[in-house]
Structure formats: C-alpha cells, structure tokens
C-alpha cells in the first residue's frame, strides 16, 4: 500500500509530495486521483515521480495523472514540462519507447441495430486486414528511402499515396506531420525494424474496437454533436497503437547515447538510468528531438493506414462507400510525446518541452493547433479503457493549465500482466465476453487474459477524478461490442 501519509492533500483529487521527500527534488510532485485511486497506487509511482522531479529544468510540478501506475523512468501518466531556457532536458524515459503511441476515434452513421447482424463478419475481416501480435508486418511495401519519406512526412505521405482523405489531416495533433523530423538522425537498425510494419497494431494493450455510444452515456449533447456523435446507439471505432519497432529502436538508440554523455559531458546526475537525458539545446538533445519526431510521424502514418483499412472493411461489409457511412475521423491523440509548447507560468509565457508519457494533451477551447471545428469545444481527448468496461471521449478545459493541458490516457492498470495471466484464462474470457455481446479476436489467449477488465482500475473513477480536478470534461462513454487485441 502506498504511503499516503507523506502526501499533502491539495484538494479532493490533488495530492502533493513535497520536495523534502527526496534529496534533489527541484519541484514538488502532484498526484491526481480520488482517495481510493491514490490508496491503490503502486508504491513505485512515488519513487518514479519524485525521480522525475529532480530533472534539470522541470517547471512547477512533476505530475501524475489519475490513471498513473508503475512505469520505467517516468511513471505511466507522468507529465513534466522542462523550461528550455533554464537548462531543461529531453529524456526518452519521459516519452516512452513507443513514441507517439496514441488513439483514434472514427464515427459512422450506423447504429448498434445496423451493425449487430454483421458484427462477427466485421471483426473477422478487421482481424485479417489489420495485422496484430508479435512482430507483425503490414501490406504497405516500401523501399528504405520511401520509408524515410514516411517518417518525415507522417500522415501526409499516406494521403498523397491514397490511404485516406485530405481532410483527415485536420483532425490530428500537428495535422499528422510534426515539423522538424529529420531522417538523417535515425539508425539503420530503426529502419530495419519499422520498414515492414506500417499498418500494424502491435500487441500488449493495443487494440481496435467497435463501440456504441448509448444515449444514457452521452454526458454533453452539444459537445458530442460537435464531435460527430449525433444519434442514439451510434457505432464508432476506436483504436490504439504507436510507432512500432521503429519508434522503439529510436528511443533505445538515444537512451544509450544519452547515458554516455549525460554525466561526463553535461554533469547531469540522475536517480534511474531509464531517465537518461541531455540538455534540450545540446547537439545530442536536438538530434533526439529530430529523431523522436520521425517516431511521431511513423505513428501518425501507421494509424492513418489502419484507418484506411477500417474504412475498406466497413465499406465492403455494408456495400456503401466510407463517405456514405459517415466514417469521419473525430481526432487522433498522442499520449507518448515531448512537444515544445508555450505556456503561462506565474503570469509569464515560457517555452516548455512538455513530456507526456501515458498522458494526453487536452487543449482548452480557442488554443492554437485546434482545428476550426473544435475551437469552441476544446480538444477531443480519447481515453482507451479496458476491453470489458468501456472507453471515454473527453474534451480539454481552460482549468487544464494546471497540468500544462494534460489529462489521463486510459483506464490505468492495477495488476501486473504476470499476475493477470494466472487469474484469468484467455479462452474462457473470450467466451464470457461473447455472452455479454462483445466479440473479441486475439493473436494470443494469454495476451487476452492479461488484458482482462479486472486487471485495470475503475475507468469511471479515473475519468471522474480528471473532471473533478478540472483537467478534462466528459463528453461520452463508449462501450465495446467488438474487439481485436494485439
């Protein structure tokens, strides 16, 4: 049980660890969550988030979102904004190996009644068309030089090559292509690992899900309508994946590179080697920033190709074009990134490198980078819950400035994979879920068991905590009916 007595309670859902907790902390740490969530938190989070608080340039607080849990380097749910004019660092351990792992939500104009008779066919076809599991490869065959273009151009490359609609780009962070990606900063090994993987889901907690927005689960009709959820029992598609082996290798390459120079060249001492870092404005820091952006773009491209495949499958099954089926991209969110953003700190505008690791950007209404459609609503935030309990669509709010406009990214695990696979059996779980109206396919029964709903926190409580804290607002809860697990 976590040592809750060391915390200073700031509000019902904000808890502070003072700098006196550990030598070297430059700022306090703040944990978000209801008392129940905080009491259930892994002890390791205390250690990890206070290690983050020692990093050079960290501004205001080391933050942990309500879905936070044991990570590596940063906890999952960790947010840290580094002031680049005050020696702020960039750290792969604050982003995660899966650079720009993120979520997409796509609408349809179909209802549950329309989809139910075709559910099995849809899931089976999606399972065939969107490869998942260990080391899977996609259908886009690329020469290495073309892959370099993909990682520099992101989703724009996909649109240019016929995988999607021009206006999809508007509904992605960075419009699907972050500027400054430089393929000369990535290794041949990273290309070897990623070149065949565009259009693949991956494994672990990555998934593709068909969901229903039930009337009683829409919390704000105006916001929901602006985000494309307009009718009762409307069917939507949500998926979760990242930059695959390419991003993982980029992060690994620079983790090792930073370890070699961090102390010897820059005199930075850290409490966990997974927090290896370099000053943002150093040659090494800038090289990683440009390489990491290639990972961001690979991930945008990966999700774009998957979106294209999903549209093809729905179109084939319903005998209508994806346009006629209303298959609009609601938004694409990133939850493993470091981005250079302007934020007001104590009344002064500062340039901050905001690390979000298992945390979602949640920009408030009227902020830059939001498409016209969401200027009034705020940024759609897509929260992937467990495959049994449901997911959420949220929006960013003005009071999110307290977390540099960041919120949760998922339900948050509460049990280890190794323990979960002993508690549940994948084949039994699959049958039980089918009886409850959720048709699930997976490349792995043990992988499925590890993803059981019981291995996760209560997603409703996590989202309630985020709303009470004023870092995001609920729009709708989305419940699963079909799922492909990697």
């Amino acid at each position: 049980m976590a040592p809750i007595e060391v915390l200073k309670q700031v509000s019902d859902v904000i808890w502070e660890i003072p700098t006196s907790y550990k030598a070297g902390m430059r700022v306090p740490a703040r944990l978000y969550g209801t008392e129940k969530l905080i009491r259930e938190l892994d002890d390791a989070v205390y250690d990890q988030i206070t290690n983050v608080a020692t990093l050079p340039g960290i501004t205001k607080y080391a933050l942990c979102m309500p879905d936070g849990h044991f990570g590596y380097g940063f906890p999952i749910g960790g947010v840290a904004a580094m002031d680049i004019e005050q020696g702020g660092v960039i750290s792969p351990g604050g982003i995660g190996f899966d650079i720009n792992c993120g979520m997409r939500l796509v609408t349809t104009n179909l209802t549950y009644k329309d989809v139910k008779p075709h559910l099995k066919e849809l899931v089976d076809k999606l399972y065939d068309r969107v490869p998942a599991g260990v080391g899977s490869t996609g259908f886009v065959k690329l020469a290495r030089n073309d892959f370099r273009k993909v990682v520099e151009q992101g989703a724009q490359w996909c649109i240019n090559n016929g995988y999607g609609w021009e206006d999809d780009l508007e509904f992605m962070e960075e419009q699907g292509c972050i500027k400054g990606a430089d393929a000369s900063k990535i290794s041949e090994k990273a290309i070897d690992r990623g070149v065949h993987q565009i259009g693949t889901l991956g494994s672990g907690n990555h998934y593709l899900e068909i969901q229903v927005a039930k009337r009683e689960n829409v919390f704000d009709n105006v916001l929901a309508k602006q985000m494309g959820i307009t009718k009762s029992d409307q069917v939507v598609i949500m998926f979760h994946c990242g930059s695959r082996g390419f991003g993982h290798q980029v992060a690994t390459d620079y983790l090792l590179r930073f370890l070699k120079v961090m102390d010897s060249k820059y005199g930075i001492k850290i409490l966990d080697r997974e927090l290896a870092c370099a000053p943002f404005d150093s040659p090494e820091g800038q090289a990683y920033f440009a390489a990491m952006k290639c990972g961001i773009n690979m991930s945008f491209a990966n999700r774009q190709v998957i979106l294209h495949r999903i549209r093809e499958v729905f179109s084939q099954v319903f005998g209508q074009s994806a346009e006629d089926l209303g298959m609009q991209l609601v938004y694409d969110v990133s939850h493993n990134t470091a981005k250079l953003e302007k934020h007001f700190v104590d009344g002064k505008e500062r340039s901050l490198l905001v690390h979000r690791k298992g945390a979602t950007r949640a920009f408030a209404p009227e902020m830059a980078d939001l498409p016209e459609r969401y200027k009034e609503t705020g940024q759609p935030v897509i929260i992937g819950g467990s495959m049994e309990t449901g997911s959420y669509l949220l929006t960013g709010v003005a009071t999110g400035d307290q977390t540099f406009y960041s919120t949760a990214h998922g339900s948050g695990r509460s049990m280890s994979r190794t323990k979960a696979r002993k508690m549940w059996r994948g084949d039994v779980l699959q049958k039980q879920m089918q009886q409850r109206g959720i048709y699930v396919r997976s490349t792995s029964y043990s992988g499925l068991a590890e993803e059981a709903g019981g291995a996760y926190k209560d997603v409703d409580e996590v989202i309630e905590a985020a709303e009470l804290a004023g870092i995001s607002q609920r729009v709708a809860k989305l419940t699963p009916i079909g799922n492909i697990k990697g």
């Binding site: 044991f70 590596y72 695990r413 280890s416």
Partner: protein, 143 residues
Amino acid sequence: MPYEFLEEVATADIAFHAWGTTLEEVFKAAGDAVMNTMIENLDAIALSQTRTFNLEEDALDLLLFNFLQEFVYYKDSELLLLRTRQVQIEEQASIYHLSATTQGEQLDRDRHHQRVDVKAITLHQFELKKTDTGWSTQVILDI
C-alpha cells in the same frame, strides 16, 4: 528454466529474474526469458537459421542490455525467433567483448504460440550482479 517472471514488479510491462552459475549461463537464460515473453512454447522454435552477435561495451550490464536488445531487433527486422546456442564473454583492456551464436526460425503463427510483443529492454531497475552461487539479473521489458 533458470528464469522466472515476477508478479509484483511492473504492471503494464513484464519483469523477470534470471540466474546462472556463470556469466554465460545468465546471458543465455535472460535471452530465453525475453523470447518466452513473446512465445509460450520455446521448444517449438526449430533451430534452422543462425545469427551471430558480436557486441562490445565498457560495462557488463550494458553488454547484457545490448545482447537482449538483439533478440527484439531480429524479431522485428527478420521475424526471427532466436535462442542462444553459444555465448562467450571476454574482457580486454576494460572492454567486454561478446560473441554469441544464436539459432532459430521465422515466426509461424500456427506453431508458435504468442504471448505479447516486447517493445524494448528498459534500464529501469536493471541489474546484473554476482551472487554466492553465480550471477543473477532482473530486467523489466516494455510491452
């Protein structure tokens, strides 16, 4: 099986402890633990293709880190599932040199039962240490 998966370390990721009486044994065991995280039935991997790893590092634990990373690399780049046949570690002028012969085959979805994909080896709580009986390591894998 000189390794075990740990229930109480890591949540979304997978942690293991591996051991051996010699350095070579612990490297071999840890390599199998990485592969066993991805494939349940290691015995189903036919040893029909060979890959050689030649690595060097100034720290022994980072040599292990790089060694384990190779299994993840070949799984993605060539879809190869590899197991260690032979490994040799030597120290020369404060640099550790590793030479390993690994064998395996390409992933076959029908014969190889998947568990979860390994994204990366992490350095969080990464440890390689000498014990009374030999060597031991703890590793957290990013899933």
